[in-house]
Amino acid sequence: MPLHVYGVTRADVVLPDGLQGLYDAPVTTVADDGLAALVSECPEAPTARRAELMAHARVLEQVVEAQTVLPMQFGMCMPDEPTVRHDLLVAHRPRLGTLLSELDGTVQLTVKVVYREDDALREVLHRSPPLLRMRERLASIPADAAHFKQAEFGQEVAAELERMGSRDGTEILGALAPLCLAHAEGKLLSPYHILNTAFLVRREARTRFDEAVGAIAEQWNEVGTVRYLGPQPPYSFVDLEAGDPAWA
């Protein structure tokens, strides 16, 4: 039966009791010379429904609680145990070994800060008297005559919102960056998303990081919401060296 691969750890990894993966299959290891792949049995091509995606993430999150693990992208299925051993562990031993040493003792913590629409827009108006005046002027023009003016006004609002978001985002990043080893910025899905950043943090620095995120949540409480995710495996920090054709 094919094996779904979750990630790679050191061979002395201790898996949590009863760890279950995709389709509730038990997670086991395939080990070779100090490295171990975390795997579970799966069909030829596993489905990517909510349950499977969540199972993949949960397995990795449970293992990373106590041990360093290099996460694989979802959907890596290898035909059998010898293939996992050879095509993954043996073929990529140097790179996997290096990454495991580099990332030893670290976890990924992700911080997402999202403005609440109304509160953020209110703040935009507070900070910009010209926009406030523009709003008042537009209120006195009949709706059908104001179409282009409204679009213009909206554009100004959007620009001001973006300025505020990028300023706040930079300030938050500046507060957290000194507490981590590295950080990787993710996509911002809308103008209200002002931070979506993964931080690589030493396990022993987690408490300090928690406190710093707490302070940020409090400071921005009025205009937005802080979401704090983790500990995660270092998804954003396992990029492979350019020029290695075996890796995409």
Partner: protein, 155 residues
Amino acid sequence: MTVSATQSPNRYVERPAPSSLADVVEVILDKGLVIDIYVRVSLVGIELLTIDARIVVASVDTYLRFAEAVNRLDLKDDGTSGLPELMGDITESGAKGKTSGALEGVKDKASEIFGSDDDEDDEDEKRPPKRRPSSSSTRKRSSSSSSRTRKKAES
């Protein structure tokens, strides 16, 4: 979803929480190690999902939506009229699910695509993130009067 915030006597500490479906989609399909020939899963639909989330920017419609959103703001609820009303207003609009429009879209899309065999956390996924830890939002509200004062003083 676990409660993600606690308050110690003199310090506000945030604790990280497990990822939701949208968070998971963002990382495990896009990041992590890959050996190309072994990726077997069909990712049809995933592209759609990412594109969907990004169309928010730069069209006249978008700007009109901004204008409309700003125009419907009731500024009398804000500022000097006092904090309790403002907070009540926020809670109410949260309950109607008006906030975080784009993210909401992604999540709905995600559950459409992936099916919702995990029904018990569906409700949780669809709620605006800020209301997730209900006990902590109470605390946040109670602590906000000081942060409000401070922020105003800074700006």
